[in-house]
Symmetry: C2
Subunit: 280 residues, 2 copies
DNA sequence: TCCTATTTGTAATTTAATTAAATACTGGGC
DNA sequence: GCCCAGTATTTAATTAAATTACAAATAGGA
């Protein structure tokens, strides 16, 4: 964890003087990086030694050490500042902005993903006799993409974007089935219905959706779709997609690791099955 | 420019003692961040004041200031170091690694994308009477995803993953048609064939594929798919997908900007068309 | 209300960094 | 080859910064 987050987190547990120091730093962290104990002490209206003590409380070995950590922490944050595209931006500018936005989205994901939840999902998927993937609208392409990655791991996997197919598939599911649901909002009526049907069939449900949504309530495991993050400027879910793709990436990675080295043979065979379709 | 690159760049212009200091720092920059002038001076076998002067030469106001800059510079670099997943990694570790890999991929894209090429592609797409998107195998989902984003901008857009449909569509194309081709390698025979047919029909061809591939040779505009970047460890194109998604994101952004504010109305209408399917 | 424990401040000390002056190089001219 | 000018570097001294040790104050509990 970066020192800045650590600082924010430990705010409640700080003493009066320490709290004032923390405040003084948080007002302008950039400036704090080049300040001396004396000047910071004057800013926070505390005595010099309090600064030293404050740093030790935060686990730094000295005030200079704290400044270094703070600098690191600022560098990694400012890197991911994402600014909205605005009319008049030229190509090189909106390219930068969109790449920044997507990197920031991944950074957001880093903070949100809970390893335990991923582990749970990986375990469910790995133990499945078959996997059914459902996605509609913007999530349909994602569902197919996930199918394309998962079938390689040797578990029978299908993706459906058609609500009727989804219903039938959900009804036909059983204990060995894991249903993977993609829905940005988690509020699409038909998706929730399908989830309920799958649940009644005793299938395991993994939802990549908005937490606190009705869909999340039905699922056994919920992974955030980053729905709350979406920049609404263009009304097309873009950064969210990057997040979901990366979640799929992570799940597949986890499953591949769980299977061990024998997976390599299968993956190689699949890859080489396309050789005949290529020209050199 | 970050201080670390600056340091490397100015190596040739440094004096003997300064060069030794620079070396000592570059051997282990992480350690240099927490060192004192005295200790660094001993390491570099120079006197203490040389350290101060060295910092001034580099444009820093003091040695502590230099350390802070160095810390920042390290933080932003190590951020994009991507390490391969290895057996035995636990969930929190492979999550970090995959997110890093994807962020690094985007960083790579930042260096590779040429604004002029994007501008050209955006212009071609914006002026099209219709857009046909082709992708097979792993690119099929991407093609559909692109279709889902592009149709919103008001230009008739379809995606085909079926080679026969692609051939027919390519044959039916004309001057007003832009064909968007997704192919990781650019060496799939049937894709190249389809591209040639589209070309004969006088359609404009944009290929998101490997540069220097046969497919790239046929296309009017080629954007790199990041094919050369792929980590082959797991034989599933993952980071490449993030790159391509981001390219689509950028193209759509460019098109939306080109259309101006009237696009907002359409996007809002499309968004609200789904309202009736949601529960609250 | 008093006592103890914790928090904060003051003064002294230690440590670190820089300045100023002196010395040692280096290369060009004789 | 030797001397001189200019630069590079060091030693010693100074200044600045951070921390320690100790004292005072404040807050909570009996």
């Amino acid at each position: 964890m970066t020192i800045l987050t650590h600082l924010k987190n430990s705010l409640p547990s700080l003493s009066k003087a320490e709290f004032r120091i923390a405040e003084a730093i948080l007002i302008d962290p950039e400036a704090a990086v080049n300040i001396t104990t004396a000047r910071l002490a004057r800013l926070a209206e505390v005595s010099d030694p309090m600064i030293s003590r404050f740093c030790h409380t935060l686990g730094c070995s000295s005030f200079p050490d704290f400044k270094v950590q703070l600098a690191k922490s600022l560098a990694s944050n400012t890197f991911f500042i994402s600014e909205a595209v605005s009319p008049g931006d030229d190509a090189s500018l909106y390219i930068e902005k969109r790449i920044n936005a997507n990197q920031a989205a991944l950074e957001y994901l880093r903070g949100k993903l809970q390893p335990e939840v991923i582990e749970q999902a990986v375990q469910l998927l790995s133990q499945s006799k078959r996997i059914e993937i459902f996605g509609m609208g913007g999530s349909a392409a994602i569902a197919h993409d996930a199918q394309h990655k998962l079938f390689r791991l040797g578990i029978p996997t299908v993706a459906y974007e058609d609500h009727l197919m989804q219903r039938m598939s959900a009804a036909a599911a059983n204990e060995g089935t894991t249903v993977l649901l993609f829905s940005f909002t988690g509020r699409t009526q038909s998706m929730i219905e399908v989830a309920r049907i799958a649940k009644e069939s005793k299938a395991s449900l993994i939802a990549i959706t908005s937490p606190n949504s009705p869909l999340a309530a039905v699922a056994d495991v919920t992974i955030t779709s980053g729905d709350e993050l979406e920049d609404t400027t263009l009304y097309v879910p873009m950064t969210t997609r990057i997040i979901i793709l990366t979640i799929i990436d992570i799940l597949v990675t986890g499953m591949a690791l769980a299977q061990g080295p024998e997976i390599d043979v299968r993956l190689k065979k699949i890859k080489h099955s396309l050789d005949a379709t290529k020209v050199n």
